[in-house]
């Protein structure tokens, strides 16, 4: 056996060479013979009935393939959880940019004009755009009551604690929409053949989601739908469910034309028409004891799902479960709901509800601290969950996590105390105010509750003719390191060299359904299955007497070669089995929500410039306990990238809405951080292991999204003494907040001659 460990080392990225040489094949790099280009005609209004569709003059319409809802062979919906989202609007539209018609032509340059030449006459209907409008039910735009889903989490006796409380602290916190802004826009290529069925290639996270959607849309059996993932230029959840829509469109055009069809969105279309992070509003009402301990409380968590249900119920679930943060709640009532508005449906985005509810929790803790008269550090210390205690869903914390020590370590490496001292002095004069902010949180990895059991993921490992092994998963690579880490795991499990493991391109013809590449589950859950499937290969070779119990890498390769020569290529499968000691009650929404939580403390140092009211983050510490770090360079890269994205959410990325449509749908006006905007983001890990994850790993992909927004806003409040409870927080908002604040001692930038 190879005695040197591969897991835990920063081995070269499996597909890295192709990426740095420009050889990687993304969907727009692929050209098929006889290919057409597709485009989408979309609704210009937020809600209404389609009266007439006219194809205007100046276009040779005979040259175009046109598809409408009537051309859909199967069900006119994008099958996901509910089936309420049409693939193409038939009679009614419910959001701006809703797809109505599709068209294709061999010359992609003719499409924009053709799309513009289709004039649609609507009978507009009243539309709603905010959570409040939706709750008020002035207009019903979905179902009976505009509510996609509700959850109720109850623990202990909430109604009885108010009279015991020494303090009752209330607060309302909101987060805006956020665009994933993967640098590669959405794209798909589809072909159709009566014998083979539909094949699609594209930029995507979940091949089997698309597979399921196309089966229903095209009324085809499983073996007649094939989905292949191409190199994907960033996803962040924005390519979890949306690609089913664009795949459906390409497929319909391919069916109608009998030719391959490529649809690539340009940036304006991608931003305006596809999913974004759910806007949220959280209301806290907390009963606190005299010495600052949470006795209980009510949390009201609401998210705006846009016009159709899509994944809102799952985002809601995760947000609700994380709403209590890493604290001990003796009692709590969490009421969560997802409501409908007439915006393009909101969808998956890294964090998936947790950044929203954790933003509220961590801002609220600073408010509680202030009202009780304790520091933000002390209030947290007194309420941190300890091993043996239960979470809001009554999950027992079974691992030896010590959040106080985690906090101590974060304070030390961020030099928190000495900076606070220094800032207090420096803030007394000068046009710049500095502050420190802390956020503590947890993040559950894998699907919630019974989700993993329901997914029932399958993984394969194959022994190849040349003695190498190949991993077969539907888990996709989009920068986070799937290919690298799953190969590491297989190599480690078998004692092989990393170079002797390959991983198949996710192609539903070739790979089993190992579940979607979401929920920070790939390394932890799928990785563990890769481990066991790999061991299955070994077992086969040992049982065939081709290999001894202990062996060298060379002996393994020889044994594998011999086996294949004798019996042909062989595979070992492993299916997910829910651990015997994880119980989740879907009815009461209680129990073990996740097999494992990762824990974190993030600390931000900010400067607020009173001349421009802008906030810059000068230093950022991200400390997290993640079970085990399987690849240090990749892990660090994930955290830094996630923190950067969350800094965007906090201070830069505002979606400007007008009647349900994103107005700033260009990179010039939707502001994400450049290399000159980010502080050094310093990453630290702790490792407690995880019996449910491959080699002790927990998921890490999403957790860096949870901490920065509250840490930064806590720091801004520390600097200014003025609280802000929404993100994104722009200089314009800070100026308004400072002006409105009644702090008379506040001195503006030019308050005196220096």
């Amino acid at each position: 056996m190879n005695s040197e460990h591969i897991v835990g080392k920063s081995v070269p990225r499996k597909e890295g060479r192709d990426k740095v040489t420009g050889r990687s094949q993304y969907v727009d790099d692929m050209v098929l013979p006889n290919m057409l280009f597709g485009a989408t005609v979309r609704s210009q209004i937020p809600r209404g009935r389609i009266r007439t569709i006219r194809f205007g003059p100046g276009i040779d319409w005979d040259e175009f393939v046109i598809v409408s809802a009537k051309d859909i062979p199967g069900k006119n919906c994008i099958a996901l959880i509910g089936d309420d989202q049409p693939c193409l609007a038939n009679e009614f539209v419910n959001h701006p940019e809703e797809p109505i018609l599709l068209m294709a032509h061999p010359d992609r340059h003719l499409l924009p004009k053709a799309v513009g030449a289709v004039s649609i006459d609507y009978e507009p209907l009243p539309a709603i755009f905010t959570i409040e409008e939706s709750e008020r039910r002035d207009g019903i735009v979905w179902g009976e009551d505009n509510i996609f889903k509700t959850y109720l989490i109850e623990k202990g006796d909430v109604d009885g604690i108010w009279e015991k409380a020494h303090h009752i602290v209330e607060g309302e916190y909101s987060t805006g929409a956020q665009e994933q802004l993967y640098i590669e826009n959405n794209g798909m290529i589809a072909t159709f053949d009566a014998a083979e069925g539909i094949t699609v290639w594209g930029s995507l996270q979940c091949p089997y989601y698309i597979h399921k959607a196309l089966m229903a849309l095209c009324d085809l059996p499983a073996e007649k739908v094939r989905v292949v993932q191409m190199e994907t230029g960033g996803a962040f959840g924005g390519k979890e469910e949306y690609p089913s829509m664009i795949a459906a469109h390409a497929a319909l055009l391919a069916i109608k034309s009998g030719r391959p069809v490529k649809i690539i969105y340009d940036r304006m279309e991608d931003m305006a028409a596809t999913t974004k992070r759910h806007p949220s509003r959280t209301r806290h009402r907390t009963a606190v004891s005299r010495d600052g301990k949470i006795l209980g409380g009510e949390i009201d968590f609401t998210i705006d799902g846009g016009a159709y249900a899509t994944l809102s119920s799952v985002v809601l679930s995760r947000g609700a479960i994380h709403a209590g943060g890493p604290y001990y709640w003796p009692s709590v009532r969490i009421r969560a709901k997802a409501v409908a508005t007439n915006a393009p449906p909101h969808g998956a985005f890294r964090g998936f509800g947790a950044p929203q509810s954790l933003f509220a929790m961590e801002r609220h803790m600073d408010r509680v601290a202030r009202e009780v008269g304790l520091s933000p550090l002390e209030i947290r210390r007194r309420n941190f969950l300890k091993p043996g205690q239960t979470t809001t869903t009554e999950q027992v914390v079974r691992e030896p996590i010590n959040l106080e020590k985690l906090l101590d370590r974060a304070l030390e490496v961020s030099d928190y105390h000495s900076k606070k001292q220094r800032f207090e002095k420096e803030n007394r004069c000068g046009g710049k105010k500095k502050g420190m902010g802390v956020a503590a949180f947890l993040h559950g990895a894998g699907f919630t509750g019974s989700g993993e059991r329901y997914l029932s993921s399958v993984v394969g490992v194959e022994g190849c003719a040349d003695g190498s092994v190949r991993v077969l998963v539907s888990s996709t690579e989009f920068g986070q390191g799937t290919k690298t880490v799953l190969s590491q795991i297989a190599a480690e499990a078998l004692g092989l060299a990393y170079e002797n493991v390959s991983i198949a391109q996710p192609d539903t013809l070739e790979v089993p359904n190992s579940g979607p590449t979401v929920a920070s589950r790939t390394v932890m859950v799928v990785g563990k299955l890769v481990q066991s499937a790999a061991l299955g290969i070994r077992q086969t070779l040992i049982s065939s007497n081709l290999l001894r119990e202990t062996y060298t890498a060379g002996e393994f390769r020889a044994a594998c070669q011999n086996y294949v020569a004798a019996y042909g290529q062989f595979r070992s499968w492993s299916r997910y089995e829910a651990p015997a000691d994880i119980f989740w009650d879907d009815q009461k929404y209680r129990g073990e929500a996740y097999a494992a939580f990762a824990w974190a403390v993030y600390i931000a140092e900010v400067t607020v410039d009173l001349t421009t009211y802008s906030v810059s983050v000068n230093d950022f510490v991200a400390l997290q306990e993640v079970g085990k770090v399987l690849h240090p360079l990749l892990a660090r890269g994930q955290i830094i990238g996630g923190v950067a994205q969350a800094i965007g959410l906090s201070l830069y990325e505002k979606v400007v809405w007008q009647n349900g449509r994103m107005q700033n749908c260009q990179m010039t006006n939707y502001i994400m951080p450049t290399s000159r905007d980010l502080p050094p983001i310093r990453v630290f890990f702790e490792e407690l292991g995880n019996v449910y994850g491959a080699y002790g790993a927990k998921g890490i992909g999403e957790l860096p999204m949870d901490g920065p927004a509250p840490a930064i806003l806590n720091a801004v409040e520390d600097a200014l003494g003025v609280p802000f409870d929404f993100v994104p927080l722009l200089p314009e908002d800070i100026m308004d907040g400072i002006t409105a604040s009644s702090q008379a001692s506040f001195v503006g930038a030019a308050g005196g001659v220096r």
Binding site: V20, T21, Y26, I183, G479, G641, T674, S675, R676, I681
Partner: protein
């Protein structure tokens, strides 16, 4: 040109691409990025925004970094263009490519070709750039995955190796 039909025809445009002389027949207002990707089948240059904001389409024209989505191909007549495909010498990677691999500078890879060319341009002009200079030199290239840190480290490492060599 007096004949308007003639002047709306494709033009013959000759320029050097990655050291090779090429001639394309293209409309003058075809974007350089499209000519590279489609006619010349050099798909390493990527389109992320079409407005010169993301830098994914960066190439070098006569040694100078530009966003190829903003360049009409007629203006490239007689020039020398370098794309990502022109950096490696056969199987031997350019020092920047090697450094990106070792320092985790590429995650999803879509910004990587443009980023590497921007870094290339920076290093041509500066022997040992400071971190601030690297950040400024790359500030026209957006990356959504890495938070830039490991990219900056890769460029600094490449600079160091080049000096040492």
């Amino acid at each position: 040109m007096t004949d308007s039909r003639q002047s709306r025809a494709r033009a013959e445009i000759s320029f050097v691409v990655n050291g090779q002389a090429r001639t394309v027949h293209a409309y003058p207002m075809e974007r350089l990025i499209d000519v590279l990707r489609q006619q010349l089948e050099l798909t390493g240059t990527k389109e992320g925004c079409g407005e010169g904001e993301c830098g994914s389409c960066s190439v070098l024209i006569d040694g100078v970094l530009v966003n190829s989505c903003l360049v009409p191909v007629l203006q490239v007549q007689g020039s020398s263009v370098v794309t990502i495909e022109g950096l490696a010498a056969g199987e031997k990677l350019h020092v920047l490519q090697q450094a990106f691999l070792e320092c985790g500078g590429a995650q999803c890879g879509i910004c990587t070709p443009g980023m590497i060319l921007a870094a290339c341009h920076l290093l041509e002009g500066r022997l040992e750039p400071t971190t601030e200079e690297i950040r400024e030199g790359l500030s026209g290239n957006l990356c959504r995955c890495t938070g830039y840190r490991q990219i900056l480290e890769a460029v600094a490492e490449a600079a160091r190796r080049r000096t040492a060599a």
